[in-house]
Subunit: 148 residues, 2 copies
């Protein structure tokens, strides 16, 4: 894929759609594009993590281990962002992310993540929104589980 | 309280500790300091919300209503930040926050919140960290509830 095609691909990801061309080029140079087959893991609960991922194409499941087995807590698709908890909190991965089809993902290292947020606060707002939505959804699931 | 005292108070809140003096003054002018007695609500689950709060002093409980009654999901103390989900996601309050002692809180309107994040990305990183920590804690509670 040429640099221009890579930049176009990035521009179509809502999280980056407002980044200037020069920053998109930097991102294209510094992020890594990875391909997973169905069943492969993007990250594994308990492992240390030094990167977040953006799903460029395909579907993945977010799974957590519990005493009563594996629980599916979310489904991911194109443009979804995942894996940021381990890099924000310096804790091991809190969930496993498993490809459910062929998945193309952009790997954003911890360093790059903080550089992007620093230079582009709007991206921080989008990520805060996403985290807040997930917190709301998880709180709703907890409420339900406790009511059961 | 004089403006200088107010600025000192703000500077001692970790979320604002790295803000420049001029921004702290702006914050002192534009935020609102409120006092609650034990038992009073800072916000109520289900209500629309247009502000977040920073606890300056005192203790508060985060409570959610469920079919089996009220569940206490978190305790808040000095410097804790709460109420940002409703302003980030434009959803009704996802929990009730109740003062458990006399509480002094700083009310940050939605507009001010987004202006601060825009001008001071480091604050966005702190808030992302806090949201990620809470998401991790809630996910752990969910895992436990599902295992029970």
């Amino acid at each position: 894929m040429s640099l221009n095609e890579e930049v176009e691909l990035l521009r179509n990801i809502p999280l980056f759609s407002k980044l200037e061309g020069s920053k998109l080029k930097l991102l294209a140079f510094t992020s890594e594009r990875l391909t997973y087959e169905a069943g492969q893991l993007l990250c594994k609960q308990g492992d240390m993590g030094d990167a977040a991922y953006i799903i460029v194409d395909g579907e993945a499941a977010v799974l957590i281990d519990s005493a009563s087995g594996e629980i599916r807590v979310a489904s991911l698709g194109r443009n979804d962002f995942v894996g940021e908890i381990a890099i924000l909190c310096d804790v091991p991965r809190t969930a496993t992310v498993k490809a459910e089809s062929k998945v193309v993902a952009l790997r954003i290292s911890k360093d790059l993540f903080f550089r992007l947020v620093e230079e582009f606060p709007q991206m921080a707002v989008e990520i805060m929104r996403e985290l807040a939505h997930r917190l709301e959804a998880t709180t709703a699931q907890l409420r339900e589980a406790k009511s059961a």
